[in-house]
Amino acid sequence: MEQSSLLLFLRRMFRRKLVLVAFVVLCAIMLMALLAPWIAPHEPTTIRVVRRLKPPSELNWLGTDEFGRDILSRIVYGARASLGIGLAVVLVSMTVGTLFGLMAGYFRSLDGIIMRVVDALMALPDILLAIFLVAVLGASAFNVVLALSIVYTPRVIRVVRASTLVIRELPFVEAARALGVSTRRILSVHILLNVASPVLVQATFIFAYAVLAEAGLSFLGAGVPPELPTWGTMIASGQQYADQAFWVVLFPGLAIVLAALSLQVVGDGLRDMLDPKLRKAL
């Protein structure tokens, strides 16, 4: 995109103040994750039993957990794992989903098989399917990414397939076929470029779902091992102390809500912005 159209894009996108706020929050969280070692006031894993379950104070702004670890520092570091897992899920499900979605939408012969599998996967509740997959695969960060990608890929396939079905019938695709343009190029240029917007919108939503789902899995003990601080594991291990030290679960909980909410709002803004333009452009 050229400079001017990028500016126009941003101006439209942030016409709604809430979207701008959400975007700023999201950037702040990302920055926090990236710069964790420099931002975090304490080592996230340093155990100080004498200071266990201390309420928020000048020394520990958000209090300490049952091992006396600084909660703020753990949230800052937790962002790395939580957002990292979310981002990995987005990348995997976008790539695989786009590929299968294009094939299902363009090649009628593959549509039946792909969509039956998609329907089957989507018939199961997200979190149950994820728990089942992690239980089978074993609990590790890699397997959580794998499981959540399997859960969310079908959504991408659906979106991409639906757009592909529309775009493949448009005259510019017919024109390309009449010119003898290879099917590979039709898919990778003509169709892919035009499904990019809905996929991008879907990506932000899946990012949000994945952050939530990772927390849910960790909370249920089916997520990453507890040594690795993620927002989900913090709540999971802190829940038994919640009645005496609410900050142990409240602050990681807030972090999850804030991240998921801002992603959703940004996704909404992106969708509102891209939809009418896409309709006009096609």
Binding site: L170, P171, F172, E174, A175, G180
Partner: protein
Amino acid sequence: MSASPLLVVEGLTKHFGRTPHLVRAVEDVGFHVAPGEVLGLVGESGSGKSTIGRLVLRLIDPTSGTIRFAGEDISKRPERQLKALRRNAQMVFQDPYASLNPRLRVRDIIGEALDAHRLAGGARRTERIGELLETVGLPATHMTRFPHEFSGGQRQRIGIARALAVEPKLIIADEPVSALDVSVQAQVLNLMQDLRQRFGLTMLFISHDLDVVELMCDRIAVLYLGRIMEIGSTDDVVSRPRHPYTRALLAASPKADPDAPKIRRMLTGDIPSPMAPPSGCVFRTRCPMATEECARSIPQLRSAGEDHQFACHYDMAHGERPAAA
């Protein structure tokens, strides 16, 4: 008519879907187009005119029938063996907005045609794209723009440039001006006439507008519900129509002349669905002179003079009138 035809279509039939939702889009259509000739396909919705264009280009597969292009039957060839057709036959589309990929620059839209047949590379490619743009009356410098930066008429020019890029022999123009304003329509029609003469193009010109077809075409085929009702030289079909549908179509087209007779005779009823075409003659449900015979048997094309045929059981010109029903 002396040269052997560039395109010969025989018994062309296309059905979409399956019973009970079988759509009989094209039924047993045959025609030929000589090199350098422009054949118009006229009809209303459901006539199958656009489907025929797509069948000839093998963008969709025929149910039956043959399509001979430059002497070779291409109706059953797999896509891999259609390189020659893709090089020699191109299409110009109706919708100037949807026919250009909104995400590509003009350079890439036209360049793609050159790439697909390895016609020009490197600096020659850019030069050729510029030439093509100038051929259709656009400045070469516009090649770096996106489609949304052009008006409807300009986009249609870009679509024509894309079709010309492979130096085709045959162009199928599917309602190329019906989405354009009258003043812009005239520009594009004149451009197409110029290009036809300059490159000796053969054309299949699809339109619902009789005036446009009369202007552009040497011969006209009038279609109704997937079948040819009448075919012949433009002059014969427009001035001496023999099929009742052709007459009705001519009478129903409003003339931009307040002194011309107003629409008086007109067809009653709706165009039947191609899912349930009438038995016998497909036009009989709206035909003012239909008889029981028309419901029983399908009228075949019969001669009404040199290169003029029509498909009706009754020839009014020769006093063949059905007994008053």
